[in-house]
Subunit: 580 residues, 2 copies
């Protein structure tokens, strides 16, 4: 048996051993020999994307659904730079990916040859490596044969543990460098541990004692819990304790929304009536994996006092004002759930608080006529089924979706912190790939505004190329409505092309309605028309790709969007007047 | 009359005064108030693009055709990062643009608020400014009221003079800062001058004396001549001197290819028979605006001895081995042309060398049957007309196009140095905008492979949205043929989706063939079918957008591509064996 393995194969075997079965990316002349090695690893497959930004979005979407790191391969300069915004979003929202960049052979790099994709003044091939510094946890630049194997292992482990992007730069000649095959017999240890077990013990006993003392404890489960592998633990925690439980706009779906203990999406002042009161009046908020950005806190109107807060984060934990830096929540959550499970009689199950009204008057009960933001989201909620993967694009979809009630075990992707429009069209590809790996029986449902769709539309072609069957809702509201809500509602710059014919989109990208194909494109301008589409059996059964274009008014904004915009304006006005 | 003008308006008035009439970009919530100011400057218009990478490509294409700087507006983080690869290409190939990035208000920046589009660890809003450092000449970060006007002026001048991208970062609250309106009465001085006129005089007298002494002088006019405003001067130089004149792959079209003194595209060993000999045997090569990258020098096989070379570049000039750093060719070329014009009797007009055969045997004379790389480019050359703007995409189109004979006054865009595929689809939008400003009577012709088209296809929708009427050739050769030529011809990763229906593309994006529209989509699998399309009057007259899909074999590569790949392989083999 061979005692060595070529570096390219070593790298992809390590990746396969993590459970990742598909590599996303775009070929380029400096990564071709590396890509050859994918085919030498049984069970590993290539998914070619139309462009690198979309591929990065897809990798992000994959990571959110699969849990194991996504792998993105691009080529030197043109490819890696095109991917940058997508990788930055994954960094901001902790959707870890290993970004592998094919580079020119070391000899050419050292010669500073004026190859295509290089730049003056000095043709330094490492210039792009430096540009990516802020959007990654770490990187390996494989120039030295002696350290390559350790470097690959180190970067993979760091990526899995941090759930942040990490880069591996592979010069073309390095692909064939022989590495010690025996290393592969020892799987990488990627478990997250807190080095100081004394502090961990201390925090756990504090938390358990606070839970016992509390009269009205609640769970506020935020998105970094999901990103860092705590989804199932959180669901178990809510199930065991039956504490009133809340999600946030980013973590929606983490709590079973049909469970008696589910109390809604907490987003500061931008919440359904009763939700903010429920959280903010609690004497113990168990806040898991918080991400405290503007649109995930109702424009910074989250109001939880430190003395009522247990904050369990990836970078630190804090119990009622006492902060523990560098402590990761995951091992702690695991042990707390274990403790509560084993001694479920020993602690006080507090009475659930009064449930807030989850369908406030702001929502419409219409059954006919034009389709309004106040109507559509709850209706789509009723269309969703158990196990669905649901993606809502930045913009009105993302601000509307919290109005929906999600089915059990829904998985939800939205990007309300990084907020790069067009993101979900790429992320949906990654979700489809991940769902395939998970043998996921649910449907994948994409809800995207037409302005965002125009950004990244070609990846719809990739769904069709690989035979994926998402259900796509295109919210056609004639421009960037989120921007109209913010500024310049009638300004020309908030328009997009109004003459695209979305009914022809699937056909253009190769999904044939004729020849027995059942890919359908439909449109709805009224509630009645929408009902007809939603009740069409072909549309909902997930057997073929489907499109429903929903026409909506361009000045109709979800109430959550208008409210947040008002809050932000008010704050800016105050700040400006107080500073002047 | 008001003595002040809001900063946003000041900025756009400065831009309008340069001759730029259109602003390209994508809106985002941090640039909306800035965009409002476009409408306050008479004669300035907004062109909204589908995404920022395409917008950057468009800005690059605009700059190449218009000469005056393109202006790209994006939003904080998501927008500016998406544009990065496009801006980098403009940096590499000197297609100057002013990239204006809208940022959060200064107060929010200073507070390090966790706004959307920010990043951990510390929400530093300047992090993206640092990332772009290598791809710009200079930048202004408008944080201090006192220096804003000077900073804007400084950056604009630097952009025009360097023909490189320059950034202006505009926090949202800065748009309304009042600036001194009187400054606008003095136009910016953007002329390129050499500070040391003694050295300039010296170089000019050296060059003139070398020209007089030379027995077989030739002109080798490269692309940076065009980028730095020397196109017309170069044409005049060739016309006055009648010296045998050559272009390069990047500068093709700079010399009138129907003129008696035109001798072909010089690209080292990857040239038509006789071309390399003509240049390399000359005792005086007047090399203007060189860009010596791999694919612009036949894979580094350009062989011109220093003792026969006059190198007139943007960063230095060199006369027969004597180098003058920091001297710009443009003022020198201007004076040389003036001198030669005024004393055209006083210098020796040398006899033109024997003209190389511009249609070597490698080209096909077929008149029927399948469409081959060896046939198509000369045929398309005959389709081109005087004043056409021609774009060829990276890949086979770019390596094939030098086989065509261009008509007089053709303007040519290709990106064989930066080589980012998908580039021309965006650049074509910019060329269309620039042609409109120039009241350009010629047609705009885009030739793009289908793999590249898939990268950036949505911008076809922008042509249609704004009523532009390019002629589009889609070379459908079933994948990335340039990569097949380089490595892994049969590998799956070199495939793209084969089921897109390009015949439906224009319709999807809103160009209607019915209702009296004359936008046609046609396809050709044979020479006969191609002839029918090319001879269709609607197709060629430029009155409506047109598409011709040309089907070609996926393993059929232009001879220039195969030859360069062979040269590169041979060199790598030698280098590897000598280093081991």
């Amino acid at each position: 048996m061979s005692a060595t393995v070529p570096l390219g194969q070593y790298l992809f075997r390590r990746i396969k051993d993590l459970g990742t079965e598909h590599i996303l990316g775009v070929p380029g002349d400096f990564n071709l020999t590396l890509l050859d090695e994918i085919y030498n690893v049984p069970g590993l497959r290539w998914v070619g994307c139309c462009n690198e930004l979309n591929a990065a979005y897809a990798a992000d979407g994959y990571a959110r659904i699969k849990g194991s790191p996504a792998v993105l391969v691009t080529t030197y300069a043109v490819g890696e730079l095109s991917a940058m915004n997508g990788v930055a979003g994954a960094y901001a929202e902790h959707a870890g990916m290993i970004h592998i960049v094919g580079m020119p052979a070391r000899m050419l790099q050292k010669a500073r040859a004026m190859l295509h994709h290089t730049m003056e003044p000095n043709m330094d091939p490492a210039v792009y490596i430096r540009m990516a510094a802020p959007i990654r946890k770490t990187y390996a630049y494989l120039m030295d044969d002696k350290t390559m194997a350790e470097e690959i292992d180190r970067v993979i482990v760091a990526c899995v543990q941090s759930r942040l992007p990490a880069y591996i730069y592979v010069p073309a000649d390095v692909v064939s460098v022989p590495l010690d095959a025996k290393r592969l017999d020892t799987p990488l240890d990627t478990a997250v541990r807190n080095s100081n077990s004394g502090i961990e013990d201390h925090i756990i006993s504090l938390v358990l004692s606070e839970i016992e003392k509390a009269s009205h404890p609640v769970i506020l489960a935020d998105v970094l819990t999901i990103r860092h592998g705590g989804l199932e633990l959180t669901r178990k925690l809510a199930e065991i304790t039956q504490f009133p439980s809340y999600s946030t706009p980013l973590s929606k779906g983490i709590i079973d929304e049909n469970a008696p203990y589910y109390n809604g999406v907490y987003n500061g002042k931008v919440s359904f009536p009763g939700v903010a009161e429920g959280v903010e009046s609690s004497d113990l908020v168990l806040n898991l994996g918080p991400l405290l950005s503007d649109s995930n806190t109702g424009g910074f109107t989250r109001t939880i006092r430190d003395e009522n807060l247990i904050y369990l984060g990836h970078a630190y934990c804090q119990v009622k004002g006492e902060k523990f830096d560098g402590v990761h929540f995951l091992p702690i959550l695991k042990r707390i759930v274990g403790e509560l499970e084993s001694q479920s009689q020993n602690y006080n199950v507090p009475r659930p608080q009064q449930k807030p009204r989850l369908e406030p008057p702001v929502l419409s009960k219409a059954s006919s006529g034009e389709i309004r933001q106040s109507y559509i989201w709850q209706r789509l909620g009723r269309f969703f089924k158990e196990n669905d993967i649901i993606l809502t694009e930045s913009g009105t979809a993302q601000f509307g979706a919290p109005d929906a009630t999600f089915p059990p075990n829904a998985k939800y992707i939205t990007q309300i912190f990084w907020s790069s429009i067009g993101y979900t069209v790429g992320a949906c590809l990654g979700a489809l790939v991940a769902a395939k790996e998970l043998r996921h029986p649910g449907r994948v449902i994409l809800i995207v505004g037409e302005g965002s769709l125009q950004m990244t539309v070609q990846e719809i072609g990739t769904y069709i190329r690989y035979g994926f069957k998402p259900i796509i809702f295109v919210v056609n509201n004639k421009g960037y409505s989120i921007e109209r809500a913010i500024h310049g509602p009638e300004q020309e710059y908030n328009d997009v092309s109004l003459i695209w014919d979305y009914q022809k989109m699937l056909e253009f990208f190769g999904a044939r309605q004729d020849k027995g194909g059942r890919a359908k494109s439909q449109a709805a301008k009224t509630i009645e028309e929408l009902e007809a589409v939603l009740n069409d059996e072909d549309f909902g059964n997930g057997d073929s790709i489907q499109l429903c274009e929903i026409h909506m008014d361009k000045f109709d904004y979800p109430w959550r969007l208008s409210t947040q915009v008002d809050i932000t304006r008010e704050r800016m006005k105050k700040a400006t007047s107080s500073s002047s």
